[in-house]
């Protein structure tokens, strides 16, 4: 046992589920102490739980069908430039013409099918920005009503839906939580005082500017809402207060 105990503890974490003997030998961990054996068993238990949970994530029901459609489209497109290896025998001119016609009919049918199915497969019709901010007003009301039910995280802001760099939200009072919005099940809501911001990955939202609007697109007597899209994300800013307060949250336009 020449390794330091801390190094041996790290090595134990490298033993794969179902490969105990091979990995122990490979890691030169043939003589385990009782404490190390317990640590190994706990690690194996953790591995088992995590693996089972990781495999619970469900793929979209239509994913296989979409992949097959994508494959068939690519196959049809590539057949024009790369002849089928099964059909290398030279064909008569009439056969070639017939094959060409068949190919064009197939390509046209595939294109029509793809165009017709695209909105259905995507399942999310376009949402104009003005409708989005109206929806956001309803969200804000709901979030306020149900606030006590939510667990807000007060550290480790997530990187997958980052807070817009142009928004001034004090970090010391910033909290966030994940939720599902507009089909994005990893959307994030940030909150600091009277300011709330939703960051959503939603490609179907249209008619939004690329920078935060100085004039809110939706307002009531006590609430101002603005939305914009940048770098593949939709940002919805909700400020409880007057116009001056809303504008004070906006720092500067994007450099891009």
């Amino acid at each position: 046992m020449s390794q330091k105990p801390s190094d041996r503890r790290v090595s134990i974490d490298c033993v794969r589920p179902g490969h105990r003997e091979v990995d122990l030998e490979d890691l030169e961990l043939s003589e385990l102490t009782e404490a190390e054996e317990q640590a190994l068993q706990r690690s194996a238990q953790l591995d088992q739980q995590i693996q089972a949970t990781l495999h619970e994530a469900a793929a979209p029901a239509d994913l296989a069908a979409r992949l097959e459609l994508q494959f068939e489209e690519r196959l049809a497109a590539s057949s024009e430039t790369a002849p089928d290896a099964e059909a290398v025998e030279p064909a008569a001119p009439a056969q070639q013409a017939a094959r060409s016609r068949r190919w064009w009919w197939a390509a046209a049918a595939a294109l029509l099918l793809a165009c017709g199915l695209a909105p259905w497969l995507r399942g999310t019709p376009d949402l104009p920005g003005n409708q989005l901010v109206q929806q956001a007003s309803d969200w804000a009301e709901q979030w306020q009503r149900e606030d006590s039910q939510y667990d807000w995280v007060r550290k480790l802001p997530p990187t997958h839906r980052p807070l817009a760099a142009t928004i001034d939200m004090p970090l010391d009072s910033l909290a966030w939580r994940m939720t599902a919005l507009l089909g994005d099940d990893k959307a994030v809501i940030y909150r600091a005082g009277a300011t709330t911001m939703a960051v959503i990955k939603a490609s179907h939202v249209t008619q939004l500017g690329a920078v935060p609007p100085m004039s809110p697109q939706f307002q009531t007597g006590r609430r101002k809402i603005g939305a914009w899209a940048h770098d593949g994300l939709v940002f919805v800013l909700i400020v409880d207060g007057d116009l001056a307060r809303y504008q004070s949250v906006l720092q500067r336009p994007y450099d891009a």
């Binding site: 994913l63 992949l67 994508q70 690519r74 997958h160």
Partner: protein, 201 residues
């Protein structure tokens, strides 16, 4: 994220020639690949990227690459690991375009974490949140361990990293997940934990 590099025989290696399969063979093999492995590919992409939308994009891209490279897959019994390697490579290429903040500085000291994690099933959302707090480097190594069932040596070889780096990343990532699960177990218990009457044992 460190600049990971695939070995030369990797599935997504651009130097690999186009498939020489006939259309019929190609269609049959692709249909099997989609039918048998699309769900695993999606899960892997989902946990790598942390996003359902990104996972969808990654899987579609991965299957496009698989279509182009299917001729190099000699042994169909290895199609799962071959496809998952394509998913990983596709993910790595996508994040090089949008480097996220590295949360490595926020990681816990593994040595401070107690080992008892209980028998209760792991909450999927909690595990996902814990995954999100890992740095991309650590999450990648951990998911290669769990999804590709790769040993630390195989991970080091595929990512062109020193063995010690892979080992410490793996241990650190597991430590963070272990801590998250401990917090879950603690919250599942009703009321505060009973305290020992006799002080330290």
């Amino acid at each position: 994220m460190s600049e990971s590099r695939e070995c030369t025989n990797s599935p997504a290696d651009d130097s690999v020639p186009e498939s020489s399969l006939t259309t019929g063979e190609l269609r049959a093999r692709m249909q099997r690949l989609i039918r048998d492995h699309h769900a695993d590919a999606y899960r892997y992409a989902f946990h790598l990227s942390g996003s359902a939308a990104d996972a969808d994009d990654i899987v579609q891209q991965a299957f496009l690459i698989a279509h182009q490279r299917l001729g190099q897959l000699q042994d169909e019994a290895k199609s799962r690991s071959w496809l998952l390697a394509i998913v990983r490579t596709t993910f790595l290429k996508s994040i090089r375009r949008r480097r996220p903040t590295d949360a490595g500085s926020l990681e816990l000291d593994v040595g401070e974490i107690p080992g008892e994690i209980g028998e209760s099933p792991v909450d999927e959302e909690l595990l996902h949140q814990a995954m999100d707090t890992l740095s991309d480097d650590n999450r990648l190594v951990l998911l290669m361990f769990y999804f590709e069932e790769a040993s630390y040596k195989e991970i080091a070889q595929r990512l062109d990293l020193p063995l010690g780096t892979v080992m410490s990343r793996l241990s650190r990532a597991k430590g963070k997940l272990r801590a998250a699960l401990l917090r879950q177990n603690a919250s599942l218990e009703s009321g505060p934990r009973p305290t020992s009457q006799g002080g330290k044992s």
